[in-house]
């Protein structure tokens, strides 16, 4: 373990101190990047929840003049078959966010189990699972997804989420494993064990809460990765082309030769939505990073921005 600790050192959570949660949250929203990311994220979530109310037209209806540029009636123009791009974008957020978030949650849960448990148990189990994790990490993910979905044939939305959740846990498992290893021999864990606490109790109540920031970071990266991967697969026609999502919009834009017809808006809108959503995840993660890792903060400005002090003693 000599070096892998610096590999994952981007986040160095300080051991939990009870009753300090609120200030962590205050710190999170006090961080400009994190707050901006959270704001964007909430806009998307609200958009997905209220999609039927927000969408100006039926996203499937082919009732308008094709290839209209952005206008007051069609903010993001129309498609080759005369559908309203904005309506598709709003309704499509449901599938895209749904896949992304559920795959993110699934991958993170797997990462918690496959990363923490073997590290805690140690010995052969750990070696075995660690090797498995490392193999999963180096096998190129998107090509693997392409192959799997090609066999499945016009993958339904939930299958897509499932496949991505099942293949996307490796990175998180690796990070959580090395963090768990640093806790296993700490006083508070040893004390809990001597006091007769069960393995599950120790893992869930003693170790996991300390890794909350890592778990959150993982959730965000998992979601970001799944949104991007789903869009890629759908763009290649490997999703269900009849569902409406940002990825399938790009697929139809490509099929409908949007660019050759000069209909850039048809491509720009869904792609920008993906990028913006992804950026919100990255921004929140960056904020959490700065919050948990004192060195990433700038000394002076930090003094006005953050909650409680951390044990940052670079000199000692």
């Amino acid at each position: 373990m000599t070096q892998s600790s610096d590999v994952d050192q981007v986040l160095l959570p300080t051991p939990r101190v009870r009753g300090r949660r609120p200030s962590v949250w205050r710190g999170f929203f006090g961080n400009k990047k994190a707050a901006l990311g959270f704001g964007i994220f909430m806009v998307f979530v609200l958009m997905a929840v209220f999609a039927p109310v927000l969408a100006p037209y039926n996203p499937q209806a082919t009732q308008f003049i094709p290839f209209q540029g952005p206008s007051w009636h069609h903010w993001f123009g129309t498609t080759a078959t005369g559908q309203d791009v904005l309506s598709q974008l709003i309704v499509g957020s449901r599938v895209s966010l749904g896949i992304g978030i559920s795959a993110g949650i699934m991958a993170t849960s797997l990462a918690i189990v496959l990363g923490m448990l073997p590290a805690y148990l140690g010995g052969r189990t750990d070696t075995l699972f660690n090797t498995m994790t490392n193999i999963m990490l180096v096998i190129p993910g998107l090509p693997l997804l392409i192959v799997i979905t090609a066999y499945i044939h016009q993958t339904e939305t939930w299958t897509l989420a499932l496949v991505m959740g099942l293949t996307g846990w490796a990175w998180g498992a690796r990070v959580l494993r090395s963090q768990t290893l640093t806790y296993v021999r700490r006083d508070f864990v040893v004390a809990a064990r001597l006091a007769g606490a069960s393995h599950w109790h120790i893992l869930i109540h003693e170790i996991l809460p300390n890794m909350l920031s890592l778990v959150i970071a993982n959730l965000m990266f998992g979601t970001l990765g799944a949104v991007l991967a789903a869009a890629s697969l759908q763009f290649l026609g490997l999703g269900n082309p009849n569902s409406i999502s940002w990825g399938t919009m790009l697929f139809w834009a490509q099929i409908g030769q949007a660019l050759l017809n000069g209909a850039w808006w048809w491509l720009v809108a869904p792609g920008a939505a993906i990028a913006l959503f992804g950026a919100s995840m990255a921004l929140m993660n960056f904020g959490v990073d700065e919050l948990t890792n004192p060195r990433l903060r700038q000394a002076r400005r930090a003094s006005k921005q953050f909650g409680k002090p951390h044990q940052g003693r670079p000199n000692n």
Binding site: G307, P309, N316
Partner: protein
């Protein structure tokens, strides 16, 4: 000795850390001079600000700033220097062996390269000359010359500490600041390294600012001892007075003396000081030691005491100063 020009002179130095939610002042109005060739001990509890003071003296503070005072090395104000000037000047005059020798060496460079870097940054010399000098230095700290080719992770803690000391005496500075140079080492190695340090110091005649919280060790090693409490120097005295039962001391120093285990009456006795030092975020208005002091009076809580020549020492305590004054009928 007193007539000499100090090699390091701290005047009214205050330092605050800026990395927390609000700035915290951890070193407060410190005056301290170190004279050529002497060993000055600096003692204080963990967190009293010793390392911070050392970094301030070297102008190496990170996430912190000196809010008042001045630091002079060999008569020159190092905070007025430009970076390049400072870079050339500093190590040649004053060097420092870090408290964390374990982490003071670059893990991806050999010991030899790291010593050579020190020499080359200040002098023009050929590689052969450099290596020769590096080997000399290693010999001084009793390391095998082939240590030059080794990486830090291949060395034991004691060996690394010796390398750090070798680097700190590489340019024959006039003062070496040693920040707890033997923490984390076992007792036997601690002792041998200390003996080596003293021996080298006798031969090379540099001064040492020796930082430690080992009271007994410092009181035997140092000619003069400064005692730090809650960011302030509360007493500066000759090392010998610490073994003199009649000498006047700050109550905190008295506490430290009593806390040393004594093998008298066939049984070891040591009396700790009750209570804890105050939180730097919330230092009291008056004397920081008041809450733990058995002699405390009203004035102690209202007014911070100042370092004054009291008996044969500099002491910052209202009560001791008053007693002394009464004794001599002033």
């Amino acid at each position: 000795m007193i007539e000499q020009e100090p090699i390091l002179s701290l005047k009214d130095v205050s330092v605050q850390y800026d990395s927390g939610p609000e700035p915290v002042t951890v070193v407060r109005n410190v005056f301290l001079d170190v004279y050529p060739q002497e060993i000055l001990g600096l003692i204080g509890e963990s967190g009293s600000g010793k390392s911070t003071l050392a970094y301030t003296a070297m102008r190496l503070l990170k996430h912190a700033s000196m809010t008042s005072g001045s630091v002079r090395i060999a008569g020159r104000d190092i905070y007025a220097m430009k970076h390049e000037e400072l870079r050339q000047f500093r190590w040649a005059e004053v060097s420092m062996a870090f408290q964390t020798a374990m982490n003071a060496l670059n893990p991806v460079m050999t010991v030899g390269e790291q010593i050579l870097d020190t020499l080359k940054s200040h002098q023009t010399l050929t590689r052969e000359e450099g290596i020769e000098r590096a080997q000399e230095l290693l010999q001084l700290v009793r390391l095998n010359p082939d240590t030059l080719q080794r990486y830090p992770h291949e060395l034991s803690g004691g060996m690394r500490q010796r390398v750090v000391i070798a680097i700190s005496i590489a340019l024959s500075p006039k003062l070496v600041i040693m920040d707890e140079p033997t923490t984390g080492l076992d007792v036997v190695i601690q002792r041998t390294i200390l003996d080596e340090i003293v021996e080298i110091q006798r031969r090379q005649h540099f001064a040492i600012l020796f930082i430690s919280h080992d009271f007994q060790l410092v009181s035997t090693l140092a000619q003069r001892v400064a005692i730090m409490y809650a960011g302030k120097i509360v007493e500066v005295t000759a090392g010998a007075t610490l073994h003199d039962p009649t000498a006047l001391h700050h109550p905190y120093t008295e506490g430290l003396i009593r806390a040393v285990p004594r093998l008298s009456d066939d049984q070891a006795t040591a009396i700790g000081i009750p209570g804890n030092p105050p939180d730097p975020r919330d230092f009291p208005k008056g004397c920081a030691y008041a809450d733990r002091c058995s002699l405390v009076q009203r004035v102690c809580r209202e007014q911070p005491p100042e370092l004054r020549m009291t008996g044969s020492s500099l002491i910052a305590c209202h009560v001791v100063q008053q007693r002394e004054a009464k004794q001599y009928g002033i």
